[in-house]
């Protein structure tokens, strides 16, 4: 044991005692430390995100300097220097000897300028208000008001509508008519150029923010379990009270607000189940099924031939399980809906929230019973345990030795989570409770978040997806879990891909861009078709998403119209629109560009232009770069169907935006937005030529699908054996 020999240490461990100590050190190992697999994968994801942004930032200094952000910064710096120079000049000159006026602005040359801000124009000397304001020209046509600082050296130009137009290049020119306070004219016109940012994203429905006091989850002990070994609990539909059976078999309802308890059945009760409508409570009492109607307080009774073991609901109908099958009550009495196997030790474990399926155990294995067909499907491996249903009853959770598995009704694994006692909320958050922690996670394994440390056994979400009940010690507790970040919608996901695709093209990286094309997409950008890289003068300087809409769900399909802006010198001179159809790839589950078409090149700066179109089934909002003459909007902006017939709709105009409302666009149907050349801006300039934008009736922009086959490969953090608490 003490024959330790390490050539590296021979010279310092010559003493036999020292070698013996080294030998002891070398023969003992700490066990592998506790490791949260979700941490390992989460850290990897974080590193990869960082790596991607590092890779993005590695473009050459030349490219970075001349890329839009680089130009913006350079412009900003130049602007500030210019303003500083103007200020120094102003302070060092005497009235009457100032020389010709000099114009500057802190946003000159900037991209991505915020929409809600005035345009500040600075001069190197006090200006004459009237002649200067008269000399201001703004393109696109914008109604503005003027204000001056006390020294008359800074002119504040504010759009009457409040905001600048999105995605728009503005040019603010101070013409030679502008005079200084000393009556000196501008030597030549001076122009400030900047580009505004995209419109603000439509606000996503976000969960109500909750206060974070000292007890951040608002944990509250509400009742004693009186020795109950498992939790049979149901929330009321309003999430204000819980029904549960204590260790003495008493069915109680407890208000979570004040803890007031009312006994529904003093003893012998089990398997409480609230109807989907929340108006009735079914439970088992002394071998019969009691159905309590809350409104009337009346209790109905069903007396099955054999003792029931579980009660559930199929819509408004009570269903129950007994030893030989699943039953419902019909006019002729109890009627079997589906039989249970008659061989082996069969235990009915849970009835799905919609009554369409049930879970039973047979000889140590789990089976899903399709109540309508009577067919059973095996799920998981031997000794796995059922852990709960998804609220829509299309998926279920079971616990293996290492993981909590999300499976579909055919038993196919959809994702894996850390093993724990689980509950799936109406908002698609899964609580993972146990003896030491409670986590929240999305069903696909994303957003794994430790909510709190402590004991949170058998968690059960309330219908509101915010409160949950759990067991600590011998007591029932309630708490409020913070909301997980909203899941990205399919349009969000697809937008990310389109931006990467377009950024690669803008950065002259055709190979990188091609990575976002599927086989069809590659054909669209094949030689002789569309160009991945746009060269020549005017040159491709920026792009923006004119419109995006979800147009298909199988597979997820999002349609974009992207406007590529071509610039000559500093001025945007023309635009080309590409319509990109982006489809979720069936194997990788990533969005890829599947189809691409380009429209004709269109001159910019020659009249009002559409810069953003927001489409829903009932409303289309069309944002222009210019302030329009409202009288030309009605009849000038319309939507037609595939046959060219105008749709019946109300057209209103406010702040550069035309709203076409009262529509009923059919998903997938073809429509066309038409902007006639009769539409004029406030300066009387017409739309240069009729503008048509083809649209499809949108489908709902839902949150991304649970990614089938994805695996968050997490393993045990909160280790606990699950129970069928949420059945």
């Amino acid at each position: 044991m003490n024959a330790y020999h390490d050539p590296e240490l021979d010279d310092v461990l010559q003493d036999a005692d020292l070698r013996r100590v080294a030998s002891l050190l070398g023969t003992a190992r700490t066990p592998e430390p506790p490791l949260d697999e979700a941490f390992r994968t989460g850290l990897r994801r974080q590193l990869m995100q960082e790596a991607w942004s590092m890779a993005e930032g590695r473009r050459s200094w030349f490219r970075r300097a001349f890329a839009p952000p680089g130009i913006a910064w350079a412009g900003a710096v130049a602007g500030v220097l210019l303003i500083a120079a103007v200020a120094v000049w102003t302070s060092t000159q005497q009235n009457g000897t100032l020389g010709p006026p000099v114009v500057a602005s802190n946003i000159d040359g900037k991209n991505n300028v915020a929409l809600a801000q005035p345009i500040l124009v600075s001069f190197n000397q006090p200006m004459d208000h009237q002649s200067t304001e008269a000399a201001v020209q703004i393109t696109p046509a914008t109604s503005v008001v003027y204000a001056w600082d006390a020294k008359s050296v800074t002119l504040q130009v504010t759009p009457v509508s409040g905001n600048l137009a999105p995605n728009t290049q503005y040019q603010v020119t101070i013409g030679p008519g502008a005079k200084t306070a000393g009556d000196q004219k501008l030597a030549s016109p001076q122009t400030i150029t900047f580009v505004t940012q995209p419109p603000a994203a439509s606000p996503q429905p976000s969960p109500t923010p909750r206060p974070t006091p000292a007890n951040p989850l608002g944990e509250k002990q509400i009742a004693s379990m009186s020795g109950a070994s498992s939790l049979a609990l149901q929330w009321s539909a309003d999430s204000q009270s819980v029904y549960f059976v204590d260790g003495k078999g008493a069915l109680q309802v407890v208000s979570i607000k004040n803890g007031t308890a009312t006994v529904v059945a003093p003893s012998g009760a089990s398997a409480p189940s609230i109807s989907p409508a929340g108006d009735r409570l079914a439970y088992i009492l002394s071998g019969k099924i009691e159905i309590l109607t809350f409104a009337s307080g009346k209790t109905d009774e069903i007396a099955p031939a054999a003792p029931p073991t579980l009660v559930g609901w199929a819509g408004a109908r009570v269903v129950w399980g007994q030893s030989d099958g699943i039953y419902e009550q019909t006019g002729g009495g109890p009627t079997q809906l589906a039989p249970l196997p008659t061989t082996g030790a069969v235990t009915l474990i849970s009835i799905a929230p919609d009554g369409g399926h049930a879970i039973y155990g047979q000889s140590g294995s789990l089976f899903i019973l399709d109540v309508s067909s009577g067919k059973s499907t095996s799920v998981g491996a031997a000794h796995d345990t059922f852990a709960g249903w998804s609220p829509d009853a299309t998926q279920l959770m079971y616990a293996s030795a290492d993981h909590l598995v999300i499976a579909d009704l055919q038993g196919a694994t959809q994702s894996t989570l850390p093993v724990a006692q689980a509950s799936w909320s109406s908002g698609d958050a899964i609580l993972l409770g146990g003896d030491t922690t409670v986590y929240e996670v999305r069903p696909d394994g994303s957003n794994l978040t430790r909510v709190s440390n402590g004991t949170y056994r058998s968690p059960v979400w309330a219908p509101d997806g915010s409160s949950f009940a759990f067991v600590r010690g011998d007591s029932l507790w309630v708490a409020t879990a913070p909301a997980l970040p909203p899941e990205p919608t399919i349009v969000d996901e697809a937008t990310t891909v389109v931006k990467k695709f377009m950024d690669a093209r803008l950065g002259d990286k055709p190979v990188d861009a091609a990575a976002y094309l599927d086989d069809n997409g590659k054909k669209a950008y094949a030689p002789g078709k569309l160009n991945l890289v746009i060269t020549g003068d005017p040159h491709f300087t920026r792009y923006y998403l004119l419109t995006e809409e979800a147009v298909g769900s199988q597979p997820d399909t999002v349609r974009f119209v992207v406007r590529l802006v071509l610039t000559h010198g500093k001025k945007d001179v023309s635009g080309v629109e590409e319509t990109l159809t982006v489809v979720r790839d069936s194997s990788s589950k990533q969005f890829l560009v599947d189809q691409a078409t380009a429209g004709a090149q269109r001159d910019l700066g020659k009249g009002p232009e559409v810069v953003s179109v927001d489409v829903t089934a009932s409303t289309i909002q069309v944002t222009f770069d210019s302030d329009l003459d409202p009288a030309t909007v009605n009849g000038g902006v319309s939507v037609v169907d595939a046959k060219g017939n105008p749709l019946d709709a109300a057209v209103t105009y406010s702040n550069k935006m035309v709203t076409i409302s009262g529509l009923d666009l059919k998903a997938g149907a073809r429509y066309r937005l038409v902007v006639m050349s009769s539409v004029r801006d406030v300066q009387g300039q017409k739309v240069q030529a009729e503008y048509d934008l083809d649209l499809l009736g949108p489908v709902a922009n839902r949150h991304a699908e649970r990614k089938s086959g994805s695996s968050a490969s997490a393993s045990p953090t909160p280790v606990a054996s699950p129970s069928a608490a949420s059945s």
């Binding site: 190992r29 066990p31 960082e50």
Partner: protein, 185 residues
């Protein structure tokens, strides 16, 4: 003759230096050992996660500046880990239960010998916990992580001689403080 695994690692490192998006392969290769080492020093899962995150994030960001000195890439990661732990050491007082150790030499001795030996191992590692932290780090890297002295030197930012001295002092102190340790054999 070159060591194929070193060549492979060198290639992975060079690729990750050219394109940080390829850092994932290095992470996969070294996560477990770095996490284990960090955990053995901080003895608390959340803290170990924090430090491990810091180590890999720093490593990713510093990849462009990494220079192959002929030592394993892991030695550099350990170096970052040693520094990150040192930063936290003032606030984290490690605690450890003696039951945490697995004895690799359990096969063989009679049960009573085994019990005595296990007891001895536990006691000596408990004494390691009380060593000055540089001695402790050196002993952990040498005897738990089986690292070469030169690699430990890189990890600890010291010369090989200084590492040997730390190990010598650590083992000597253990011998002195564990004078009651009895030989198993």
């Amino acid at each position: 003759m070159s060591d194929p695994s070193r060549d492979e690692e060198r290639e992975l490192v060079e690729r990750a230096q050219r394109d940080p998006r390829l850092f994932g392969a290095l992470y996969d290769r070294h996560f477990q050992q770095i996490y284990r080492f960090v955990y053995s020093r901080v003895r608390e899962q959340t803290a170990a996660e924090d430090v491990t995150s810091e180590v890999f994030m720093k490593a990713l960001k510093a990849m462009p500046r990494y220079q192959d000195t002929g030592r394993p890439f892991a030695a550099w990661l350990y170096q970052i880990a040693v520094n990150a732990i040192a930063d936290r050491y003032r606030t984290l007082r490690p605690t450890q239960t003696l039951d945490d150790f697995h004895d690799l030499s359990v096969a063989g001795p009679a049960l009573e010998d085994l019990a005595a030996h296990r007891d001895e191992v536990r006691r000596i590692w408990a004494l390691v916990e009380a060593l000055p932290h540089q001695q402790r780090t050196a002993l952990l890297l040498k005897f738990q992580e089986d690292m070469k002295i030169e690699d430990i030197a890189v990890a600890m930012g010291k010369s090989p001689g200084a590492v040997k001295l730390l190990i010598h002092r650590g083992v000597t102190r253990l011998r002195d403080e564990a004078s009651a340790l009895r030989p198993v054999e």
